[in-house]
Every structure is written in structure tokens, then in C-alpha cells.
Symmetry: C2
Subunit: 395 residues, 2 copies
């Protein structure tokens, strides 16, 4: 179960119905909507079996090629080694942990020519000098240069559907291949996503449109804080930041549109960013995201001399205290009339991972429709890439 | 060397001179200014020696009690185990790595009664059942309940000066004790900080005031992005976020003041947040923070069939490419007239860690003076704490 309670005024149905139609219009063209329905994944079973003796799953990919798999593996406590930045300490750290023999390598790039990914791949080739490519899996768009390369060397090859953008691709092979190899139950992930699809697109629960309408129209909700009260959601925050920033930060004609994402982890970040939300400019909405209490660790009933003012937490589970901190902070912000809402997941498992991902993808699409932007492109990052190429080509 | 180039219009000296005086006025009252001068640290040498056989340094502390030590240990590649959130997976993850015998435990809380820290400490006591407190170090304010407790059990005790706030405390015992135990050269950290003190407070280099003036007055610089092009600066970003948000997000009378921090790591986050900066609302300044190229890993001169469009990176070092990405992105943003500046560190070592920390502390104080807020309190987090205590006490 994913429950979501909005603590702000909600839009009337006539305000959102036109947007619901515009969103439905996208469904045929925009590939991610259909991902929960895409049937059996026999090829995932096959590679799981093929690589079952490999100890490490190593994913080489940046941005949309790694953030989704990282979000879900973090939620589920699965081990994937990410080389997700063209950065010496990241590469050295990964190389120290792996050998060619005990690893399966996934080279993931939608365009097939992401400079970071291909450069890291070359470093690995020089380092490991593989005799063949039996331990290499390539994930890319059909028709990309990386497809042709993969075929020429004989590595495993998986496709991302062309009409699925990188940041919306975690429920495609892009996320599912590494997650399956790391041991996730792919079927349950997709079932969770499908449940959200049914709820919001088929049964037309208006909640996501109401929430998006608030964000797209309310002057006090320009910065959208996701306050996750479970450190297993830290990588999900990063995934959300990419999804939100890159989808919604767009020009509409001459106008600059967009909503700014912030990711926090509770309760730790109550000791960091919270002061700014409470007393700073009123431009921030806050979504409290929590997982129903696990109750695996309890604060023991120890009374320490001089520290009795802390005894009120004794005999309570750590996760119960953490969730209570979420509730208390929500109430404090609500008393300041700050836009807050609360999402509660019953558990952190595959089903809920899929549900949460799909919920946020739909919310992003809904905001995009309401802001009147193209949610699915990213024209603003091209200039920097061009300048880099020019700069380095003259070296 | 820490070099900083501002790519925006700078204030005239008469616009900032009054603020320089107001900042000088703070120096006697606000303790962090003096931390680089505080002489010899014999007690740090003593405990380094006392605990030299311990394999793990375990720091229990949240917010200002951990973020500074985490920032510097991340920069230097030092190993400290942080239990910095009251969160079951964080606690379980740490417990799986440590034993009582091979660890020294630091319990760090300025007030001495931080509910997360004391609760985690109780979990550790129940888990390890220590016979004595010879492996426990307590760091707190003089006169706090935790001081009294530490004395009653006979643990090592270190003080944070009363007039040094938690988020400004990394150059006090709060940061120095864990860093010394983890092997950092404390003297060099303080020398780096002292060099910035001399440059900006004694020789009156106006750069920090100019930069702060821009942030405090320019409508396009309400969100301040720190874009660090080295993953060893990731925890520094987190430290910056706390420092900035909690210091500057304040009420001034009825008015809500504040600047919103965002931390990014390059080049990875060029594939995430950059689109929003380029094309979204023009309310973001960006500081590019980079480390002069290390050149430890080079992209080999491998030409892969079909992928020759990526060959322009061949024969270049990974860190050179990363820094070039920083430069290219800076230029792209500059062409959009977005407020950018660039900080370059010659190396990531103790001296530069201290310099960078102190530079940012001074910048925060300067912004606080210009915004007319109390930079050093955090009244907004109290209501949530009160609500929590009320909520849990009735359990």
C-alpha cells in the first residue's frame, strides 16, 4: 500500500480534468507509461542464470542509466557496484573491489556515446584486458553506435525502447537488467508500478493531478522538498532530483519554467535544512515519505545518570521514533501554513519500489502538462557537451 | 592555494565596507573565528597514541556533530564509521562492521541531550555491554548533562567552546578529535584555515564580501548551487547545505529571509540538475568547485569500432576531462548570464580542507550580516522537537 495524504487545499475537479485528458493523450507516444505492462522477461531469467556464479554486478552508466537502479537497489539492500561518475576516486574505489573473473559488467548508455560511460569502459578494458566479452552486457537504444559495437564484439545486448527517456527508464531493461542480476524480484517491481497505473490512469484517482496542480500553480511551492525518513531512500531522493529537475526545468517560448527539487533524509536533516523551511522564504513544499515501522531495533530501557531528559524514547523502536519525528515535523510545518503532504509505504520491498517509482513518474508528467513544458527532452545540456568536445578536441 | 574567480559584477568597496565592520564586530563573540589560532593540541596526540591499536573510529552524532568530520574525512579518504541517523539500517550497517574490541566510540552532542545521539548510544550499550568506558570518548559543551554523565562513568571528555555553534564546530574538538583518531594531520587543517583568516580578515581581501553581497542582494541568486567536480567533495556539499540553510534561513522581524543551498557532484549531475539551471527559472547561482587535475588515471588510446565519436577523450586524464567538463559547463551557464564563480584547490589535502571550510564559514557569516539575520541560532527546529517529545511521552 502507498498512502498519500495532502495537507493543502486541493483543486476542484473542473480545474484538473482538462489536464487529465492531456496526460491521456501522451500515453501512446511516451513509452514509460506502458512499461509495467510489458509481459514476461524471459531474457532476464536467462542472464540471471548465465551469471549466477558472478559475485559482483558492476554498472557503468551515468544519470538515467544508473540513478534508477541505484534507487531501487538502495531500497532493497541489494549490492551493485556503480561506476557512475568519470572521477578518479570512484573508478579506483570500484577497481579495488572487483576482478574480471568475479564480475559481470553492464555498460549502459541510451545514446550509446555518453562520453563518461565510454571513457570509463575504455579504462576497464585497459585494466582487465578481457580475452572475450562474455562478462559484458550492453544496454542501449536500438540502432545506436553502442548496439553496433556490442554486436561486433559479441557481448550480451539489451534495448531501451526509443520512446522511453533515460530518466524514465528504470522499469525498462535499463533498470531491470542490473536489478535482476543483483537479485531483485522484477515481477513484483512491475506489479507495484502496475497497481499505480491502474489507480491513477484507469480508475482515475485524482490525487496526483491535485498534487501536481498545487505545485504548478501555487507561489509557495516552487521548491519541492522530498523528506524521506529512511536512509534506504537516499538514492531514491537522487533519482527524484534528476526526474524532477531535468523534466520540468524548461523554456516555454521565452519563459523559463520549472520546479526545483531538494532531497532530505530524516531525521538527520532536521539538523540541517529544516530551519530554512521553517523560518526562511515561503517557497517550499515538503513531502514526508516514510515506511511503516519495522521495529527491528528498540531503544533499550536504560536510564543514564544526568541524561534522564532523553528517557522518553526508551522502549520505543528506532523506526517508530523516526516516523514520529516525521509526524512531529509535518505538524510543525503545517502550523506555519507550509504546503505539506505525506506518503506512507507499508514496507520497502520490490512492489513498493515499483509503486513509488511509477507514482513519481506520473506526478512529474502531470506537472509537465500543467506547466506546459516538454517533460521528455533536455535541450539545455547540449551546449556544455559541445563546448567540452571543442575544448578537448584541440588538446 | 585556493583560487576563486567571480564571473559576475562585483560590488563597489563603499557598498561592502560597512558590512566588513559589522563582521569584525562579531569576532569577539562568535567563537569559530578564533579556532584556527587555538594553539597546540597535545590532548589529541595523547588520545591518538592511546587508541592507536583500534581499527575503527566510530562517531555517533547528528548534524553539526558529524557533518564536518564527514566532509573532511571524505576529502582525505580517511575511514570513520558514522552512525549519524536514528535509523535501523544505518545502525545495523555499522554494527555489522565493528566490535567493542577493535573500536573507539565517540559520542558527540553539543547540547548533550540530542535524542538521536543518546538513543543510539543506549542501543550500543545494550549491544556491546562494555565492562568499562575506556573505549568511549564524549564530546560536548562544558556544563552539559553529557559532561556530568561522562565524568560519572569515567570516559574521555572533550569540550566544544560554548560560543562555537554546532555547524561551525568542525575546527574545534568536535571535528578534530575524530579526524585526529582517523589519521588526519590536524596542524595542517588549522594552518589552511588560518591562511584564509589572514587573507580575508587581516589582509582584508574583499572577495568574500563581494560574493556575499551578490548573493544577499541579487534576485537571480536565491538558490546557491555548489557544483563540486570531485566525488571526494560529496560530503563537503552536505556540510555546506547545513551551514548555509541553518545559518541563513531566519526571520528578521516578520520577514522570512534565507538563501537555499543545493549540492551537486560533477560531471554526474550534469545529467541531472543542470537542465533546470540552464533553462529553468533564473534564480540560481552556481559555484564550480574543482581540484587541480590529479592525472592518476588516463583514458587509454583505444579506438572502438562504431564509437569513434568518443575518441576525443583518449589520452587525457580522467581528472583533466572532469575539470574540463566543469569549465565547459561554467561557460555554458555564463552564456545564459547566470551568476557563476569558480573555486580551484591545488590539491585535496588537510591544508586545503581547512582552507575551504573556513572560506565557507566566512562566506556564511558575511551573508548573514548582509541579510541582517542571526547567523548562529536555529530557533525554527524547536517546535518539532517539542511536538515529538509530547507525542512520545504519551506512548
Amino acid at each position: 500500500m502507498l498512502e498519500n495524504t495532502l495537507h493543502f487545499e486541493i483543486a476542484k475537479s473542473e480545474q484538473i480534468s482538462a489536464y487529465a485528458r492531456r496526460m491521456s493523450d501522451e500515453i501512446g507516444d511516451i513509452g514509460y507509461y506502458a512499461l509495467p505492462d510489458i509481459g514476461k522477461h524471459e531474457s532476464l531469467e536467462r542472464i540471471k542464470n548465465k551469471y549466477k556464479t558472478k559475485q559482483n554486478v558492476v554498472l557503468i552508466g551515468v544519470g538515467g542509466s544508473s540513478l534508477g537502479a541505484k534507487a531501487i537497489s538502495n531500497m532493497l539492500g541489494l549490492e551493485i557496484i556503480f561506476i557512475d561518475n568519470l572521477d578518479e576516486s570512484v573508478i579506483k574505489g570500484a577497481l579495488a573491489k572487483i576482478s574480471l573473473e568475479n564480475s559481470v559488467f553492464i555498460i549502459s548508455s541510451k545514446s550509446g556515446t555518453t562520453i563518461e560511460t565510454i571513457s570509463i569502459y575504455k579504462v576497464l578494458l585497459a585494466h582487465f584486458k578481457p580475452k572475450d566479452f562474455s562478462s559484458f552486457i550492453f544496454i542501449t537504444d536500438e540502432g545506436s553506435p553502442l548496439e553496433n559495437y556490442a554486436k561486433s564484439v559479441g557481448g550480451e545486448l539489451f534495448f531501451i525502447p526509443k520512446n522511453v527517456g533515460g530518466r524514465f527508464s528504470v522499469l525498462s531493461n535499463c533498470g531491470l537488467v542490473p536489478l535482476a542480476l543483483a537479485g531483485a524480484d522484477i515481477k513484483a517491481i512491475l506489479e507495484g508500478a502496475k497497481a499505480m497505473k491502474e489507480r491513477f490512469l484507469e480508475q482515475n484517482d485524482p490525487l496526483i493531478l491535485q498534487k501536481a496542480h498545487h505545485y504548478a500553480t501555487h507561489p509557495n511551492a516552487k521548491i519541492n522538498v522530498l523528506f524521506s525518513y529512511d536512509s534506504r531512500l537516499k538514492a531514491f531522493n537522487e533519482w527524484y532530483i534528476q526526474l524532477w529537475a531535468e523534466s520540468l526545468g524548461k523554456r516555454r517560448g521565452y519563459k523559463r519554467m520549472g520546479l526545483t527539487p531538494v532531497g532530505l533524509v530524516g531525521s538527520a536533516d532536521q539538523h540541517s535544512f529544516l530551519q530554512l523551511i521553517m523560518d526562511g522564504p515561503k517557497d517550499k513544499s515538503v513531502t514526508f515519505l516514510k515506511v511503516a515501522a519495522k521495529n527491528e531495533i528498540t531503544v533499550p530501557d536504560i536510564k543514564l545518570e544526568f541524561l534522564n531528559s532523553c528517557d522518553f524514547a526508551n522502549n520505543l523502536s528506532v523506526s517508530f521514533i523516526q516516523n514520529s519525528q516525521s509526524t512531529a515535523t509535518l505538524q510543525a510545518l503545517k502550523s506555519e501554513n507550509i504546503s505539506v503532504d505525506e506518503i506512507t509505504l507499508s514496507r520497502l520491498d520490490e512492489w513498493h519500489a515499483g509503486a513509488l517509482i511509477y507514482y513519481y513518474e506520473l506526478l512529474t508528467s502531470a506537472c509537465g502538462v500543467m506547466l506546459g513544458v516538454n517533460t521528455y527532452d533536455q535541450p539545455g545540456v547540449e551546449l556544455g557537451k559541445m563546448l567540452l568536445k571543442k575544448m578537448l578536441s584541440t588538446q
